[in-house]
Amino acid sequence: MFNPIETLIRSVTDIDADPYSLGDFLGVDSRWCQRCGNNAILTAVQKLCAEEQLAPEKTVFVSGIGCSSRLPHYMGTYGFHALHGRALPVAEGIKIRRPDLHVFVTTGDGDCCSIGAGHWLHAIRYNMNITVLLHDNQIYGLTKNQVSPTSPRGLVSNTSPHGASLDPLNPLAATLGMSNISFVAQAVDWVPSVLYDVIEQAFHHRGLSFVCIMQRCPNYLPDHFEEYIKNPDRLVLLTHARGLQVEESIARRFKHREEHDPADLDRARELSMPRDRIPLGILYRNPEVLCYEDVRSGVEHLSVAERMAALEREFDKFTVDAASPQG
């Protein structure tokens, strides 16, 4: 509907303002180990912010605790370094109160799939318009080499000296099994263009977009991902007119490619299950799923007095009238 003033202000003529560059999104210098895969993810989101010209003061990165969760410090935007496992509920709180902000969540496999697993499932179901990046290095990095729910069986670590005894949790399959899912994708930190394209699509999707990123931890698992890096045949690139469209120069590197329609949930679930090859690209997308903030918007610009009056009105409904027989 035509909203005169809104359209007008949007057309504010400020032609000579400088566009944002990647430099506007740099925070403090990173303290990650050299060669850590987190660096690639950081670059990808900085590039996204610059390409999308997101106002730094309108953008917020929320994280829990872990190496990966340090990312907000390295961004030139707002950030919230929350408690371990609590990135998602904090992000949801921000989004419901300030739907105008671009909200990103960066979380580790420990942060999201272990201590934060409950929040993870409910955040998926609430489907708020947030971009979630799961940095899955299959280890607790920050606490120095402890086994994580996504570590492969048999992994020897400080907390599993005889090798991890359980099969790993599969974040992709778990997410695809939830209700109200609206965007599920996977990328790897060492193919930057695909990583960027996936995150870009995740950002443009309206709803909760869940991106699982395989992330190298050269410090504790130096050779862990080598087999995938050296042998791209272990990956299968998912492309589709409604999903990723990859330049031929990049696509050529993948021997295995599949035309996968992101609307096809059954195939997405099959692809997510443990097999020889791990899928790369957009597994599932459904823009029709309702966003929680659209049904339950918390935003009303009321003065303190107006707010008090509204509360009083609500409370009055529960006032017990001592004189009435029901009371």
């Binding site: 007008l8 400020d14 060669r35 690639a40 610009h301």
Partner: protein, 762 residues
């Protein structure tokens, strides 16, 4: 050829038929017309097709209408629809369901009776009055109890409330004002939402500045803000010194604070103005202020010019506010810009943000100055919404010249406005205003000018024909057809222009089945057209144009008006057109129509035909194209058939092979490529696209390796490092995208070993 020769026999036949000659004389209005006929008195005759509607009060139609508060998308709903909806949603097959329906219909009839008296009351009030009347008629206490429950439950199920209006002389203005007020508060609400948001954000800027100020971080201030709960547990002196030493002390500059404050003040003033204008929220008790309706186009234009100045101030404040909120206000650049901010800086969209102005005009009271101003408005971009009411049709006919046509200023106004292209135009009669309330709202929401041209009938109602029926017949008779032109729907005529709400739009005149008894009491039935002359029959100004003839003078050459008008001029020769009418006792009469009026009816039909074309009905361009396409398709088909026959006999021709040069070109290209590759292989390079920004190489030697603008590495200066550094970086790069090439310095130590190691990456 003279007439005698052309019409030959026909003329001879007419000449010999005395009775026919008499009728023709009447039709042609000859001074020697016989006095067999009598001028009908309009007060006791009406067009026969009206006979069904005699008891209008007992029929359920679009009036009275409820002008619902608060909801622009349901701004006018017929009472009959509201009652109908209540009945539909109740289950009439349940026990008591039928009684429920009957009670509601009785209530509806009572409400209508009161509404017809023209009292401007709300549905809720009228409902209660009518309900009391209904209850008073109940036969006994039990029946009364059931009825009370029925009416109460129905009343509870009604959504919304509003004034009830009947089809009276004020209805057009009343609905216009009502819709205008809804739009005004709707737009006000949206604007207020934006303002509220900006105000909150500007306040937040000032508030966060205050929180950082020295005043807000004194021990006392902190103690007060935390309250007593922590009195013993916190040392506020220490907290204060910690806060003061650790916080970034970057207060707002004086000029920025001043600017934010002044803009905040301006926005608050605007918000308060909007609040007082549109009422607050959707509270049913608080009714928004009514809109101001101008009665002159000249005054409206004047007023709008004043509003532009206000708009400049407002947008100046809004733009500054937006820049401040986004932290993009740059004094060096913006101060001078806003200093000189004026009308010229407003964008077209901004200009369209002017709140709409409403004008109501009576065509009778339209002087030359106002006509000019009206045209200026309709061809502008300005959001001025004009309701023009016509009370007589044809308007302004020079009676001396005889009833020639319908092209008066008022009747043609809407069609002329369509040609101006920029205005939203709606033409309709008061009768179908309730059905077109959505179009009125669309016109008011449209960002440019709008014209609502409405025929609402003479101030004095016809004794036999109520106003609603009169207006409905103006529409039905094509004298005042309904159409909409909405430029907002697209640039093409097919998108913008619609003839809507007209009965049987495909037909020249709407056709109706008409049943009657003939003199012998036999049931007869006829297809009768409702024409412009049925409408004019009700107008005393044309009484002299109709002549009633007794049934003993009827003649086989008398043809009904619809049929007569469908004949070409040539075929009307010797025919006498008549109109079926009924008197107060339901006796059918034939009324001969004079020649002059036939011309008027043809003119009216012409204008209708033109609208049909614009609305895409039997559009002559389209028909012509269609015909041409049909011919083309037919000739292609013939041609194909022909060639099929020949193909059977001959072989299909073979395409001659062109000399293929592609192979040799490829060879040359490959050679050049290989050469370039060898040269390049000597140089160190990085596959930058594949870099994961892991910092490994850049940390080794920041002069040799560097990041580009998207933080991916490239060889910045190969001479700024050693070959060893290149090789080691290549070995450590997690994605193996560094290619060391060949050493620049041939004297570097252990080159042999390095070259061997490099070969794995070259």
């Amino acid at each position: 050829m003279n007439r005698m020769e052309e019409y030959g026999e026909e003329l001879a036949a007419v000449r010999q038929d005395g009775r026919l000659k008499q009728l023709l004389r009447i039709h042609l209005g000859r001074p020697d017309a016989p006095s067999i006929g009598a001028e009908p008195s309009a007060s006791d005759l009406a067009p026969a097709l009206f006979s069904h509607y005699r008891g209008l009060a007992a029929l359920r139609y679009d009036y009275p209408v409820v002008l619902l508060d608060h909801d622009a998308d349901r701004c006018a709903v017929p009472l009959a629809d509201i009652i109908g909806e209540l009945i539909r949603s109740a289950n009439s097959s349940e026990p008591g369901g039928e009684q429920y329906c009957r009670d509601l219909y009785q209530l509806e009839a009572n409400i209508k009776q009161v509404a017809a008296k023209g009292t401007e009351q709300r549905l809720s009030t009228l409902w209660d009055t009518a309900a009391r009347q209904c209850l008073a008629t109940a036969q006994d206490a039990r029946r009364r109890q059931v009825m009370r429950e029925n009416l109460n439950s129905a009343r509870g199920a009604i959504e919304g409330d509003g004034v009830i209006a009947d089809c009276d002389p004020q209805i057009s203005r009343c609905l216009f004002a009502h819709a205008g007020q809804l739009i005004q508060s709707e737009q006000g609400r949206q604007a207020r939402g934006t303002l509220d948001e900006l105000i909150a954000e500007l306040r937040a800027i000032l508030e966060s500045d205050r929180m950082r100020s020295a005043r807000a971080t004194t021990a006392d201030a902190l103690r007060t803000s935390m309250g007593d709960t922590h009195a013993g547990g916190i040392n506020f002196e220490i907290l204060s010194s910690v806060l003061r030493s650790s916080q970034h002390q970057r207060p707002l500059t004086v000029s920025r604070r001043k600017r934010v404050r002044s803009v905040l003040k301006a926005l608050k003033t605007e918000r308060n103005r909007l609040r007082s204008q549109s009422g607050k929220g959707k509270s049913p008790r608080r009714r928004p202020a009514t809109v101001t309706i101008e009665t002159s186009c000249v005054a409206a234009l004047e007023k709008l010019r004043g509003a532009v100045q206000h708009l400049v101030e407002l947008f100046r404040a809004l733009r500054i506010a937006r820049l401040e909120v986004e932290n993009r206000y740059d004094e060096a650049r913006h101060d001078s810009f806003f200093e000189a901010f004026g009308v010229d800086q407003l964008t077209p969209e901004e200009l369209r943000g002017l709140p709409p102005l409403f004008v109501h005009l009576d065509t009778d009271a339209l002087d030359a100055e106002n006509r000019t101003a009206l045209i200026e408005i309709l061809s502008s971009d300005l959001p001025i919404k004009v309701l023009v009411e016509l009370r007589t049709i044809p308007d302004g006919i020079p009676m001396t010249a005889g009833p020639g046509g319908f092209g008066g200023w008022g009747t043609s106004l809407a069609s002329m406005a369509v040609m101006l292209r920029t205005a939203y135009v709606l033409q309709t009669t008061a009768a179908n205003l309730p059905r077109l309330a959505g179009e009125i709202i669309a016109g008011l929401r449209y960002e440019g000018p709008a014209l609502f041209s409405v025929y609402s009938g003479p101030a004095e109602e016809h004794p036999l024909v109520p106003r609603y029926l009169h207006c409905a017949s103006a529409l039905e008779s094509r004298v005042f057809p309904c159409f909409v032109h909405d430029p907002g729907r697209g640039p093409e005529c097919a998108q913008r222009f619609q003839i809507m709400g007209n009965p049987q739009p495909e037909e020249s005149w709407p056709m109706h089945e008409f049943s009657y008894e003939d003199a012998e009491g036999r049931a007869m039935s006829d297809e009768v057209a409702f024409t412009a002359l049925d409408f004019l029959f009700m107008d005393p100004r044309f009484a002299g144009q109709y002549v009633t003839v007794p049934s003993d003078s009827w003649h086989p050459n008398m043809v009904s008006l619809g049929e007569y008008l469908s004949l070409s001029e040539r075929h009307t020769f010797g025919k006498v057109p008549y109109l079926w009418t009924v008197d107060a006792d339901d006796v059918l009469r034939r009324v001969i129509v004079r020649r002059g009026l036939i011309m008027a009816a043809r003119r009216c039909h012409d204008m209708w035909r033109n609208l049909q074309e614009l609305g895409g009905i039997r559009n002559s361009h389209a028909l012509r194209l269609l015909e041409a396409e049909r011919e083309r398709a037919a000739s292609i088909r013939d041609h194909q058939l022909e060639s099929l026959e020949t193909v059977e006999e001959t072989d299909l021709p073979r395409a001659e092979a062109a000399p293929d040069t592609s192979e040799s070109t490829t060879a040359v290209n490959e050679e050049a490529e290989a050469e370039a590759l060898t040269a390049a292989a000597d140089q160190a390079y990085i596959e930058t696209d594949l870099c994961t920004s892991c910092n490994d190489c850049t940390d080794r030697n920041g002069m040799l390796f560097a990041y580009n603008e998207v933080k991916q590495a490239y060889i910045k200066d190969a001479s700024a490092g050693t070959f060893r550094e290149l090789v080691e970086a290549a070995e450590n790069c997690p994605v193996c995208i560094i290619h060391p090439g060949r050493p620049l310095n041939q004297d570097e130590p252990s080159l042999d070993d390095l070259l061997k190691r490099a070969s794995a990456f070259n």
